[in-house]
């Protein structure tokens, strides 16, 4: 079922079309990454979904409901929104920041406190320590987590993120991406994320939409974009170097494993990507590894040959 339907949507400023006839169906419970250079219209598409920017023509439906049939404030309170540089309210404590939307929706004080603590724990921030701190007392990574917690406070079905990790340094950024994936899997929320970073799109997106000059050039799985680019611009964004490695990074060992245990000293986790398995095999000088799930049960094996075949152009 699609959670967000974008149908022939355009945004025009005078004769200039910032977004030009975009149509997309976003499946419930997935992460969709909108990628493109600056000025490609990716942020505008996102901002039209919660009506921060008005649609010129076309319709957008969220959860089967036309967004124009609700007031902008009611619509926005039903969705999470995360922006670059987090936009935390500097005069409000962490707890008050997270409580913003529940307060607007007039939840009871008890329900709000409970939800705030729940979210702080979900994001590994001890409520006793962090609830009463002000944003400037937190590190960049912590501020970013509070920003996401605030967006999730009223249990929205849709989360919109505009360059959410843009202001973070690479190490924290990677951690934030892993955390987001975990949280997304845990609450099954539908996420639409804008980024200019193709690596980020590949790391997070179930689907990727490549935008350029207001148009969606290609909308498909990361593998599609990599293996069957619909437009030279998509190739340009993904880059032609290390294509095989990027492809291997998209495949999990558990999805490619041969159900046959081999005599090798190396056992690797099932969630590892083929790229990680390849790297480990190369490093250890082994021709093959057994693959085990988190319970320690061996699912089968992967050989160098198999991995190299998986990374071939198709």
């Amino acid at each position: 079922m699609s959670m967000i339907s974008i149908r022939q949507v355009s945004k025009c400023y005078g004769t200039f079309a910032a977004v030009d006839d975009v149509s997309m169906e976003i499946e419930q419970g997935t992460i969709t990454a909108l990628v493109g250079t600056s000025g490609s219209g990716k942020s505008t598409v996102l901002r039209m979904i919660n009506r921060l920017t008005d649609i010129s023509t076309g319709t957008i439906e969220v959860n089967g409901r036309d967004i124009m049939s609700q007031s902008p404030t009611a619509l926005r309170r039903s969705m999470g929104y995360v922006i670059q540089g987090n936009g935390l309210f500097p005069h409000r404590t962490v707890a008050q920041n997270i409580a913003t939307v529940p307060q607007l929706l007039q939840w009871s004080t008890q329900a709000i406190t409970q939800r705030v603590n729940e979210l702080l724990e979900l994001f590994n921030l001890d409520p006793a320590v962090y609830a009463h701190k002000l944003p400037h007392q937190l590190s960049g990574g912590q501020q970013q987590r509070v920003g996401v917690a605030r967006a999730l406070a009223a249990k929205p079905q849709v989360l919109l993120m505009d360059e959410p990790f843009g202001a973070l340094d690479p190490v924290i950024r990677h951690k934030a991406q892993v955390d987001l994936l975990a949280v997304q899997q845990q609450c099954g929320i539908t996420i639409m994320l804008v980024t200019h970073d193709m690596e980020e799109a590949f790391a997070l997106g179930h689907k990727i939409a490549v935008m350029h000059a207001g148009k969606v050039l290609q909308y498909g799985t990361p593998e599609d974009i990599l293996v069957r680019p619909a437009h030279p611009f998509c190739t340009q964004l993904t880059g032609t170097t290390e294509r095989s490695l990027k492809l291997l990074a998209l495949i999990k060992a558990q999805d490619y494993v041969t159900p046959q245990t081999l005599n090798t000293p190396l056992t690797l986790p099932a969630e590892a990507t083929l790229r990680e398995v390849l790297a480990e095999l190369t490093w250890q000088g082994q021709p093959a590894a057994n693959i085990a799930n988190s319970a320690g049960q061996v699912l089968g094996s992967l050989t160098l040959q198999q991995i190299l075949r998986a990374g071939q152009a198709r």
Binding site: P72, R76, I83, Q84, T100, R150
Partner: protein
């Protein structure tokens, strides 16, 4: 070291406060001090009315005009920082600046011709004088709120009024208080010329002294006004410090 300094600050504050109240309620304590300044045979301590009553009226004048400047200045500041009011920003800026560049005496004269002698022309003049710092600081305070914060407030689903009341004004408050501070000091001093158009305030003491060539009166009036300004400026500074401490960016 720092503790010792703040102790000193409180000691000075207390001293100034005691001096102020003594000058207002027990002026006779200062006879020997003022005696050399009064002409032979003339009264040394102001005797044409109660200094306490005049001080209170002076304060009322300042408070009344400040309240009006505050209401006008902040609402104008809010209006011109809305998208719909942005066109009026240059116009309202020049009006507020004009209020400031007019000499106080000229404003008083114009106000007298409009509403007659007494308290009202002084109130009008003082309101105009306090308007500029409060208006300018409100505009600056509101414009200083980071864009990402405004964007987040909108994206969370706050109505424009909720955004203003819960986010923008609280964040602009320290600067608005700074404006109030400046306006208060200007007005405590400027209010003295209200006496020229028959408003009841401490200016009477000074003018009485000037008319009778009695410097003791002039100094008494001047000292009370000056100390009042220092004390109120300091109190507002403390309030402002408390506010900014709560929300260091």
């Amino acid at each position: 070291m720092k503790v010792a300094l703040t102790h000193w600050a409180w000691l000075v504050r207390g001293g100034v406060l005691v001096l102020f109240f003594a000058l207002v309620f027990k002026p006779e304590w200062f006879i020997t001090l003022f005696a050399p300044l009064a002409p032979q045979g003339a009264p040394i301590i102001y005797n044409q009315g109660s200094l306490a009553a005049l001080t209170l009226q002076h304060l009322e004048l300042v408070l009344g005009s400040l309240t009006m400047s505050l209401i006008l200045g902040v609402s104008a500041g809010v209006l011109v920082t809305r998208a719909s009011g942005a066109d009026f920003l240059p116009l309202s800026r020049s009006i507020a600046h004009m209020g400031q560049t007019f000499p106080p005496v000229a404003v008083l004269a114009l106000a007298v011709s409009a509403v007659g002698f007494g308290t009202y022309p002084t109130l009008i003049a003082l309101t105009l004088y306090g308007l500029l710092p409060i208006f300018e600081n409100t505009v600056t305070g509101l414009k200083n709120v980071p864009n990402s914060v405004l964007e987040a407030a909108d994206g969370m689903g706050m109505s424009p009024l909720q955004r203003l009341g819960r986010i923008e004004l609280p964040l602009a408050l320290p600067l608005i208080v700074e404006g109030i501070k400046v306006a208060t000091v200007i007005n405590i001093g400027t209010a003295t010329i209200g006496s020229t158009v028959a408003a009841k305030c401490l200016g009477e003491v000074i003018i009485a002294g000037l008319l009778a060539n009695n410097m003791a009166f002039v100094l008494q009036g001047g000292l009370i006004v000056g100390l009042m300004a220092v004390l109120i400026y300091d109190a507002l500074g403390l309030a402002q410090h408390k506010l900014t401490q709560q929300q260091v960016q």
